[in-house]
């Protein structure tokens, strides 16, 4: 706690602020995780092709609104729990440790599967680009090359530095804006239509699918809270940066989705998208822009997918590190490489799972875009949606036990509305999940995935119960992340008991 005293220089705060992150660095970190260019080129065209609905732009706007509401409570709670890196620690603080472990068991496959899906996108896109140079390679060769680099960087715990991310992101945003302006200046039939922003389709059954795909596109923005102890002003920097990350990603995705529909005409977008897949945007702007700008777009697309791959690798490793350190997973996961601090076990586990999945896909010859990228990111997206839903409930539960100087909007209204909205989205998604995966009525995939998530959550609940019975001292520490035995900041409303003498009371007795 700080006391205001204008007369003395605050050496400590000044020295600490020097090496800390401001809003822009945190925004870059969050947006790089959400990877908007990956979403625009990979996910939006796939959504148009697979779902065939023209309501994609409004879906992104709607999801951004829901996630902004969610962020309000999420960030408010992050101020009160130390080391708030992962959803499950919120859930164990808000809803109890049993639910928390269940959430952790949902989170592990969800993030892991999302990353594996991205390998499919990277492989397919890179193979396409190489084919343009006359080098014909199967997609899995490119995917495995990316896997190799990601594995090595993950073991060295090299995150792309803030500056590299910033440059890439600025380039990505500029190229997206150029593409959008080009598409908008060549509308189908000569006039721009705003019909894609009509909210009417959100009331139809297709909305569930649209919204979960859109949410999958935002996954990664929540990683900003990992940096809360590295931020210049922990109270404000993270909150602002997280909101900015959501807004930037939403703006880019919805405008681009709209621009695509404008230039092909809303009635033709599904057919065109089905024909060109991840090439859709480049095909649409290719007629109007010089080739170097298109090539740059391809390049930035690849770097953006790659940055997302790294971000997810780190996210999975971080989850396993935190779980290992607090004893939910075997202690080996909690160890780090002494010199680099890399959580080795987590990183290696994710790499091994990824290479097994990639090999299976390579051997079976399934289409990487549909069965690897689209399926895996939808499945992972459902998992993250479940986590967000549970987290917004946890925020309500946490603040119900004391508002901790947050106002009513942040502590109750925003979390409650986001919980309601996320419940609606989650229900719609689970009901329509079979359509989302494009399987017919008799396929087990109609119901299998949500059931599997329930299954892993149940395993988590049981595991927590076993821990409570067998290792109560470890169980008592669940949800404290990498922090070990200390968790809640002492910031309840009661004044602390008076100490003998607070540090720095400036009266020398001698």
């Amino acid at each position: 706690m700080t006391q205001k005293d204008p007369f003395e220089p605050d050496i400590v705060a000044r020295a600490l602020a020097k090496n800390r992150l401001g809003v822009p660095s945190v925004v870059f970190f969050g947006v790089a995780g959400a990877a908007p260019l990956t979403v625009i080129i990979g996910a939006i065209s796939a959504t148009y092709a697979i779902i065939g609905s023209t309501a994609v732009p409004i879906a992104y706007v709607a999801v951004a609104a829901i996630l902004s509401l969610f962020t309000v409570g999420f960030v408010a709670m992050s101020r009160h729990i130390v080391n708030s890196g992962a959803f499950y620690s919120y859930i164990s603080h808000g809803l109890g440790r049993v639910v928390g472990v269940g959430a952790a068991f949902v989170a592990l496959p969800a993030y892991s599967v999302m990353q594996i899906g991205l390998y499919g996108l990277f492989g397919a896109a890179a193979a396409n680009i190489l084919a343009a140079f006359g080098v014909i390679t199967p997609w899995w060769v490119c995917a495995i090359a990316a896997w190799l680099i990601v594995t090595v960087l993950g073991l060295l715990w090299v995150d792309l530095s803030g500056k590299v991310l910033a440059v890439l992101l600025v380039l990505e945003i500029s190229i997206v804006l150029i593409y959008d302006l080009t598409m908008l200046s060549h509308p189908h039939g000569g006039h721009i239509t705003f019909s894609s922003f009509s909210p009417a389709p959100l009331l139809t059954p297709v909305a569930g699918s649209l919204l979960v795909i859109a949410i999958a596109g935002f996954v990664g923005f929540e990683a900003t809270v990992v940096l809360s102890e590295e931020a210049k002003d922990p109270k404000r920097t993270i909150a602002r940066a997280t909101h900015w990350a959501v807004i930037i990603a939403a703006f880019m995705c919805s405008i681009s989705a709209w621009a695509m529909a404008v230039t092909t005409g809303p009635e033709n977008i599904a057919a065109t998208a089905g024909e060109h897949q991840t090439d859709l945007v480049f095909f649409l702007v290719g007629k109007h822009l010089p080739t170097p700008l298109i090539d740059l777009g391809y390049l930035l697309f690849l770097t953006s997918v790659f940055a997302a791959l790294l971000a997810f690798q780190a996210a999975v490793a971080r989850y396993q590190f935190a779980l290992g350190r607090e004893g939910v997973l075997p202690a080996g996961f909690g160890r780090t490489h002494p010199r680099t601090g890399a959580p080795l076990a987590g990183s290696i586990t994710q790499s091994i799972i990824a290479i097994i999945a990639l090999s299976l896909y390579a051997v079976s010859g399934l289409d990487p875009l549909v069965y690897l990228f689209a399926w895996m990111s939808t499945i992972g997206g459902l998992g993250v949606l479940i986590l967000m839903w549970a987290t917004s409930a946890a925020v309500i539960g946490f603040f119900a036990r004391g508002r901790r100087r947050e106002n009513v909007w942040r502590a109750f209204i925003a979390p409650f509305s986001s919980f309601l909205l996320l419940s609606v989205v989650l229900t719609a998604t689970v009901i329509g999940f079979g359509e989302l995966l494009q399987v017919d009525g008799s396929s087990p995939f109609q119901w299998l995935i949500p059931v599997l998530y329930c299954g892993v959550a149940l395993i988590g609940f049981c595991w927590a119960a076993i821990m409570r019975a067998g290792r109560p001292e470890v169980y008592a520490q669940i949800g404290r992340g990498t922090d070990g035995r200390l968790s809640l900041l002492n910031d309840n409303d009661f004044p602390k008991p008076l100490h003998a003498d607070p540090v720095g009371a400036r009266s020398f007795p001698y």
Binding site: M1, T2, I11, L16, V226, P338, V503
Partner: protein, 212 residues
């Protein structure tokens, strides 16, 4: 002193490089500096805040300096804040003290593009003394000799920052010692145990982020 011992354990005696992530080493050294003041009865820890118990300057110049800083900066009391603050230059401060003791030399090395300044043992005697620091601790632990209070704190910091494997490198031979580690820390007085737990927590969050 506590921080000196920790410095010698946390750095390679041949290259002077940190054995841990540099920020983890910094946090360990910062905790050791605070630990020295606690051991001398100058400060205490209550509810995550530092409390000054005795304003009389310690004999050691560095400890005196740190105590003065704690007295001067009254608005900050949290242990975590002080650990983060002191960790930024703890390496240089403790390094300088070791130079004054004659335990290390200040070495400037040319690298490809930059020069690197490290505090490292330079003569054979210095290197011997540096290598003895972890060996002494392992020896005490393996033989089950009653540890002094300072050594118990040192063991706690070694474990909290992730140097246990370096001190007790031979798993078979040191198995007994591994099992005695938790009890050595648990038996510490409350202030020192809190200090070690806060160090462990800070190291955990620094490593999770992975920034330099």
């Amino acid at each position: 002193m506590l921080a000196d011992q920790y410095f010698l354990i946390a750095h390679q005696d041949r290259t002077g490089r940190s054995r841990l992530h540099p920020r983890a080493t910094g946090l360990g050294l910062a905790a050791a500096l605070l630990g020295e003041l606690i051991l001398e009865g100058r400060i205490g820890i209550a509810d995550g805040d530092l409390v000054i118990l005795d304003r009389h300057p310690p004999a050691d110049a560095l400890a005196h300096d740190i105590l003065d800083l704690l007295i001067a900066q009254q608005r900050h009391r949290e242990v975590r804040t002080w650990l983060a603050f002191l960790s930024q230059d703890a390496e240089i401060r403790v390094g300088e003290r070791l130079v004054r003791l004659g335990a290390v030399d200040l070495i400037t090395r040319r690298r490809m593009l930059s020069t690197e300044v490290v505090y490292m043992p330079n003569s054979p005697e210095q290197r011997n003394a540096a290598a003895w620091a972890p060996a002494r601790l392992a020896n005490l632990l393996v033989r089950g000799i009653e540890l002094s209070l300072t050594d118990r704190v040192l063991v706690g910091l070694v474990a909290a920052t992730g140097l246990t494997r370096h001190v007790l490198y031979d798993f078979e031979m040191h198995r007994q010692a591994f099992q005695s580690l938790p009890s050595a820390v648990d038996a510490l007085p409350g202030d020192l145990r809190d200090l070690i737990e806060y160090t462990e927590a800070s190291v955990g969050s620094v490593l999770t982020v992975g920034r330099r």
